[in-house]
């Protein structure tokens, strides 16, 4: 059974303002890919542990030590907008009327 996609909802979650011209094609592409992916449903994976990565690593810790970082200015220099030591963005909350 091919998976139907609510493209507007997924686009909202993905923070994409899809234009009307892209929506139908992307939804069709996604449904086709998911139909292909659906072949996995037939594989028995009872008692199989998921693999999220392939290294035999436990947590990697380092001392929580303060080290000086001098790249603040370089970082801010390439921000689309900044002010003083901050990134600047448009208003977060709309006008209260």
């Amino acid at each position: 059974m091919p998976q139907k996609i609510n493209i507007d909802q997924v686009a909202e979650l993905a923070r994409l303002n899809l234009k009307s011209g892209e929506r139908a094609k992307l939804a069709a592409d996604l449904e086709r890919i998911l139909t292909y992916v659906d072949q996995l449903q037939g594989i028995n994976t009872d008692h199989v542990t998921p693999t999220s990565h392939t290294l035999a690593l436990e947590n990697v810790f380092r001392p929580d030590a303060v080290v000086p970082s001098k790249i603040r200015d370089a970082v801010l220099q390439h921000a689309p907008k900044s002010e003083g030591a901050y990134f600047k963005v448009p208003k977060v909350i709309g006008d209260v009327s």
């Binding site: 994409l16 292909y36 689309p80």
Partner: protein, 478 residues
């Protein structure tokens, strides 16, 4: 005298020999080469010969002194634009070097140019670059492969002595095979990914694209090793990889996975790979059939796992800290418009797909299922490597395809990584080396896969085969 741009990395080291004026001569000839042929190939997206005169940070000596290395544009280079071939990062000048870039600089190498790629490494043809497609030097109507297509094409047509690429599902090996060069994906964790702009964090690896296996061994030695800045980098010691060259394959046990020779494999590719197996047998290797029964599911697993990780990794591109911002009256509109305008079609497709498989109600059915089948794919390799030292198969099911041929069919494009994806899912090292040419004159690659951290075995076997062939004598006519 040989034209300097034709030198291998090893030969270039011999030529420069720590001499500053020879270094400059090599860079000059290579620069002239780029000026002559890159208008046809389009391998570079950021190339500025003036930089070499300004660049004062290069040490006066080092194991790679004076060697120009070209860099895929998803590795950050301090002070030098790094875009991932995406509109959303146009104009981004990183304030820091990727660890591999720092290692190259410290070794005395010269960062030569930044190479074209599929946008954020999403693609197998270099056509999703926001700049322009790169072309295959062997046939300009064909793609160079991807996503490290610019790096592979540059090395193939002597616009680079050697290059770095990155490989998430085949992005080093597949373009190397399409362009007739050597491409190595190291073991997951072997090379630091600090400063590699992330695509699929459980899969990505940086690796060399070179003219010879020896060059690959030299360059891997220069970039491999533990890095405290990458918590997934491994602590295994880095051997002298060049010590494994030319040891031969006598007594080596090689597995031929029957699933890699199934339907869909181009007959010319199959016959080239079978010839490699025949030659290795002549050299004393024992070849046996092995089975990787779940490898047929690798593409399906990959297009869950890799896109899920990509959608998460690409969340950081929101127009706040770097790159392009679409001016909007409120923050929400700024995020949504910046992302919609900044990302290309394939990036949006993968972000949406990744978001979907991770979303509430679908996580178990898709993402978790994918991770479980990934376990089965890895187990297939674990079982096979109990009996063999090495696995051999094709790198790509076909030689290079035509530009535009698969751009409207994402699934067909994805399936071109059928044989390369399993090594990423299992975290294994794998190399693609030239194995001949199709009747139409396109290169064909063969892939060797080894146990984790046994890149040395890859170099040993592939150098033995390479020494028996003279594929490298044939160069693309440009």
């Amino acid at each position: 005298m040989t034209e300097l741009f034709r030198l291998t990395l090893k030969e270039a080291l011999g030529f420069v020999s720590g001499n500053r004026s020879k270094r400059d001569q090599l860079i000059q000839e290579l620069t002239d080469r780029v000026k002559t042929v890159d208008q046809k190939v389009n391998a570079y997206i950021h190339f500025d010969p003036e930089r070499f005169n300004r660049d004062q940070e290069v040490p006066a000596s080092g194991p790679l002194y004076g060697i120009p290395i070209s860099i895929k544009d998803n590795l950050t280079t301090a002070g030098w634009e790094t875009t991932c071939a995406s509109r959303i990062l146009k104009g981004f000048v990183p304030p820091y070097d990727a660890t591999v870039i720092g290692k190259l600089r410290a070794a005395g190498a010269v960062l030569f140019g930044k190479c074209n790629m599929d946008e954020f490494a999403f693609g197998s043809s270099c056509e999703t670059s926001c700049f322009f497609p790169t072309r295959n030097p062997w046939n300009l109507e064909c793609v160079p492969g991807g996503s490290s297509g610019g790096s592979a094409a540059a090395v193939a047509c002597d616009e680079a002595i050697a290059a770095l690429g990155s490989d998430t599902g085949g992005s080093i090996r597949q373009p190397a095979s399409f362009c007739g060069v050597v491409g190595l994906k190291p073991t997951y964790g072997r090379v630091s990914r600090y400063g590699l702009i992330a695509f699929g964090s459980s899969l990505d690896q940086v690796g060399p694209i070179t003219k010879t296996v020896e060059d690959s061994a030299i360059l891997l030695g220069a970039i491999a090793g533990h890095d405290p800045l990458d918590s997934t980098s491994a602590r295994e010691p880095v051997p002298d990889y060049t010590a494994f060259l030319n040891r031969g394959v006598n007594g080596m046990k090689i597995g031929i996975p029957k699933e890699y020779f199934a339907k869909g494999l181009d007959p010319e590719v199959e016959s080239a790979v079978r010839n490699v197996i025949r030659d290795l047998k002549k050299l004393g290797a024992a070849c046996v059939e092995v089975s990787l029964p779940h490898s047929q599911y690798a593409v399906a697993v990959y297009y869950i796992v890799a896109v899920a990780e990509a959608s998460s990794n690409l969340g950081r591109f929101d127009g706040v800290q770097y790159g392009e911002r679409y001016p909007a009256r409120d923050l929400r509109e700024m995020y949504f418009e910046t992302r919609d305008r900044g990302f290309g079609n394939e990036a949006k497709r993968r972000i949406l797909l990744g978001t979907f498989v991770l979303s509430h109600g679908y996580y178990d059915a898709y993402y978790l299922k994918g991770l479980k089948v990934r376990t089965l794919i890895k187990k297939d390799f674990d079982d096979a490597f109990k009996n063999v030292d090495l696995i051999i198969g094709p790198t790509s099911p076909t030689p290079a395809f035509k530009l535009g041929e698969k751009m409207d069919d994402p699934l067909a494009m994805y399936l071109s990584d059928l044989y390369t994806i399993p090594a990423n899912l299992a975290g294994l090292p794998a190399i693609s080396i030239p194995a001949g040419f199709s009747k139409s004159g396109l290169p064909i690659g063969v892939q060797f896969i080894a146990r984790p951290f046994e890149e040395s075995t890859l170099f040993q076997a592939s150098s033995a085969y390479e020494a028996e062939t003279n594929w490298r004598k044939k160069r693309p006519a440009l």
